[in-house]
């Protein structure tokens, strides 16, 4: 039996989404015993994940409280911390994954004894060491991005070269609760009195990770929409917080106590979610769990989170970025009509909100806008960047996507997009070429070293900007951080190799852009790169 330890020391969402990874890993490596290292506060969530043999916990709050209180000796905080990780330290692991890619996890993974370590660890020199290109991509290219063009959960699968498996048991469903839920939901389906069983739409009253809720007006309008149709029945889901009870009281007052609401704890939640035909929720733990049991979801995101990464992974889900709550019910109706082939009333064909569908292609899941004002440049850029990043990470170019974009996008729009990308590309190529030239200078005299370092810093700083070259430049930075040689000459040789690899990576983007524009004209940056080769 192989021993796998996954360190997951960040958010509740990371912990729940790890269920996808555990399932995929076990399908690829069935003879594996999975252990998790988590924070004690998240123990209840971790307990619902399927196929986890051991849970190790760090009592973060207790340790912080002791350490931060001037009354108490730091000795107790340290004792507590090292006792927490002691069993992990004593175990000889086959594989360790720093899943949440956090600093604490990186240091702990660096301490552990394991045949292989995946993700980010720390070298004795204090720099981050990444296990493969995907780990570099996660650690360097995904920082400070509002939206990941590739889902973090998918990136984390690639840390161990594990393909994503949609099917499988990811979270535990309590048999007793499941039986009760099945019986009760069967009755609810028949409660509309029509010939066909009604579809059950769950609406979560639980707040989002950023403490946002669906407002009362939206809830009333959505419940009305669903209840007025013979095809659907609403079930409201609560977690038991006083604010939710207040909302449910208001709703009951409006609907004369005709609504069904279920107060669920984490043990019963999966059994309830498994019985829903569609689940409408802000991005929160309930939504992430629904995705694990493959319940279809409409994720409502706050408009301020414009274009942020959806919390769900599976295709056939939907995300609504909410700018105007008064039109949200129309968007929900639009999605339900699309999903169930119904004719729920939609009062306007336009929307202030943006609605996305999660669909699959050769690379995996992608988000495509299906309603709301289209920012064509933003959408184009997303698809190009996604295609480019997959290429950087070893995938073939998605020619179908490029053809589709060319065929379905106005030439002017494509030209504007490619001009913008070329501008970003050209400025970076110039810095890259200057860096290569300065490297040549170092070969002739070590006194040119500082000049080279300045150019190298400027180049790496391009990865901090939110430009399209962030991906390749950050991957380059990851490679530089991973250098293990100790002499200046060896280091320079490695950096030179990586600079040429970056040049090839930028060439890929240049080629992509060239493919996009109809006349196929060579861009300035292409000729710059070719000149450099000459």
């Amino acid at each position: 039996m192989n021993k796998l330890l996954i360190t997951n020391l960040r958010s509740d969402f990371d912990l729940i989404s790890c269920a996808h990874y555990i399932n995929s890993y076990l399908q690829e490596n069935p003879q594996t015993e999975v252990s998790l290292l988590i924070f004690k506060e998240q123990e209840n969530i971790a307990k619902i994940l399927a196929n986890v043999s051991n849970l190790y916990t760090i009592d973060e709050q207790q340790i912080k409280n002791i350490q931060k209180n001037a009354l108490f000796s730091d000795a107790f905080a340290m004792n507590n911390f090292f006792t927490s990780i002691n069993d992990c330290l004593k175990t000889k692991w086959d594989n360790v994954v720093n899943y949440s890619n956090d600093e604490v996890g990186a240091f702990i993974c660096s301490m552990l004894t394991s045949e292989q370590k995946h993700g980010t660890t720390i070298s004795k020199l204090g720099s981050p060491v990444t296990s493969n290109a995907w780990a570099s991509y996660q650690n360097f290219a995904c920082q400070d991005r509002n939206k990941d063009v590739i889902s973090k959960t998918i990136i984390r699968h690639h840390l161990t070269n594990t393909p994503y498996h949609r099917e499988g048991t990811k979270v535990k469903i309590n048999e007793e609760y499941s039986l009760i839920a099945n019986q009760n939901f069967a009755k609810i389906r028949q409660s509309k009195g029509s010939d066909m069983d009604a579809k059950i739409i769950g609406i979560s009253l639980v707040e989002s990770y950023s403490n946002k809720r669906l407002n009362l007006e939206t809830l009333i309008n959505t419940v009305e929409l669903i209840e007025e149709s013979e095809s659907f029945k609403t079930v409201l889901l609560l977690s038991g917080k006083p604010e939710e009870k207040q909302i449910i009281n208001e709703l009951n007052k409006h609907f004369e106590n005709s609504l069904i609401s279920i107060n669920t704890d984490s043990n019963a939640l999966s059994a309830v979610l498994a019985n829903l035909d569609l689940f409408i929720s802000m991005n929160n733990n309930s939504l992430a769990i629904a995705d694990c049991i493959d319940t279809k979801t409409i994720e409502i995101r706050d408009g301020l989170a414009n274009f942020a990464t959806p919390a769900t992974l599976n295709s056939d889900n939907y995300v609504i970025y909410q700018n105007n709550s008064s039109t949200l019910v129309d968007d929900i109706a639009f999605v339900m009509n699309q999903e169930f082939n119904t004719n729920l009333p939609v009062s306007s064909m336009s929307s202030d909100n943006k609605v996305y569908s999660i669909v699959g292609d050769d690379y995996g899941m992608l988000n495509t806008q299906i309603r709301g004002e289209l920012n064509i440049q933003q959408e184009l850029r997303y698809h190009i960047e996604r295609c480019y990043h997959y290429q950087l990470l070893g995938y073939e170019k998605n020619n179908d996507l490029i053809s589709h974009l060319k065929k379905n996008t106005d030439e002017d729009v494509l030209t504007e997009c490619s001009t913008q990308i070329k501008d970003e590309l050209t400025s970076t190529v110039k810095i890259l070429l200057a860096t290569l030239r300065s490297l040549k200078g170092v070969k002739s005299s070590k006194s040119n070293l500082q000049n080279f370092i300045n150019y190298l810093d400027t180049l790496i700083a391009r990865g901090r900007d939110n430009s399209i070259v962030k991906g390749p430049v950050c991957l380059f930075e990851g490679k530089v951080e991973n250098i293990t040689t100790t002499t200046i000459d060896e280091n320079m040789k490695s950096i030179e190799t990586f600079l040429f690899e970056l040049k090839s990576d930028l060439q890929l983007l240049t080629n992509l852009v060239t493919d996009l524009i109809s006349d196929g004209a060579e861009t300035n940056s292409v000729s710059d790169l070719k000149n450099a080769e000459a």
Binding site: R10, S11, D12, F13, F39, E41, Q42, I58, E60, Q62, I63, K64, N65, I66, Q67, K68, A70, L71, F72, S73, D74, A75, F76, A77, M78, N79, F81, F82, T83, I85, L89, D102, E103, V104, F107, I108, S110, M111, I122, K124, L125, G126, Y209, S210, N211, N283, A308, T309, A311
Partner: protein, 219 residues
């Protein structure tokens, strides 16, 4: 260990209860200690109703503690009362002649505040943020002890807390010359490139945990 010098006398109140007198100071009413304790406890009823962990500064002869316990049992199914008393002779006399019947009450005797804070079970009790109740006559009698307790600051030099570390951590820190540095200083040294072994990584993990912002809800 510093031994305090105090003159303990035992008197009997008018209603027949034992009243300790230390250095001439009566710790309870010489007329009716029970009634005095009842009135004392009532003054803390609201505080006791809100917290089930209670720290009492001063044992006296326990009458006030019993009354606080009665109140605690009225409001909480489970409660813990810890009494701090620096006078060993008084504690021994009390335990030999009266003692508490209520198993939820414990007495801790320590000569100085430092010793108290070196006791992990006491630290864990304080972590529960107990309601703190001061028995005035005991407090006034040992004002310096209680003031030291309330104003205590844990030592932050490694050498000063070495004895409280688990053996493996003690071994780790003993390998460094001159433990007269703070933990912060030690970690700065490691960050400056001094990582040698897995325990160094552990110290950096500990530091990262302390510095980490709460990102629990962040997706």
């Amino acid at each position: 260990m510093e031994e305090r010098t105090s003159q303990l006398e035992i008197k009997t109140s008018r209603n027949g209860l034992t009243v300790p007198v230390i250095n001439g100071i009566h710790l309870h009413s010489i007329y009716n200690p029970a009634k005095e304790a009842e009135a004392f406890a009532l003054g803390y009823e609201e505080a006791v109703s809100q917290k089930n962990n209670i720290l009492i500064l001063g044992l006296g002869y326990g009458y006030h503690v019993d009354e606080i316990a009665k109140l605690a049992s009225k409001y909480h199914e489970n409660y813990n009362i810890l009494v701090i008393e620096p006078n060993k002779e008084l504690v021994e006399h009390f335990m030999a002649h009266r003692n508490f019947q209520d198993k939820n009450i414990n007495i801790t005797y320590k000569v100085n505040a430092k010793e108290l804070y070196e006791d992990i079970s006491f630290v864990n009790f304080l972590m529960q943020k107990p309601c703190i109740i001061k028995h005035d006559s005991s407090f006034n009698l040992d004002r310096s002890f209680y003031t030291e307790f309330l104003k205590f600051q844990a030592p932050n030099h490694i050498g000063e807390f070495m004895d409280f570390l688990d053996p493996e951590l003690q071994t780790y820190f003993k390998t460094f010359q001159g433990n007269d540095v703070t933990l912060d200083h030690h970690i700065k040294t490691l960050k400056a490139g001094g990582v040698q072994d897995k325990m160094d990584f552990g110290m950096l993990a500990f530091e990262a945990l302390i510095a980490k912002k709460d990102t629990r809800g962040v997706q």
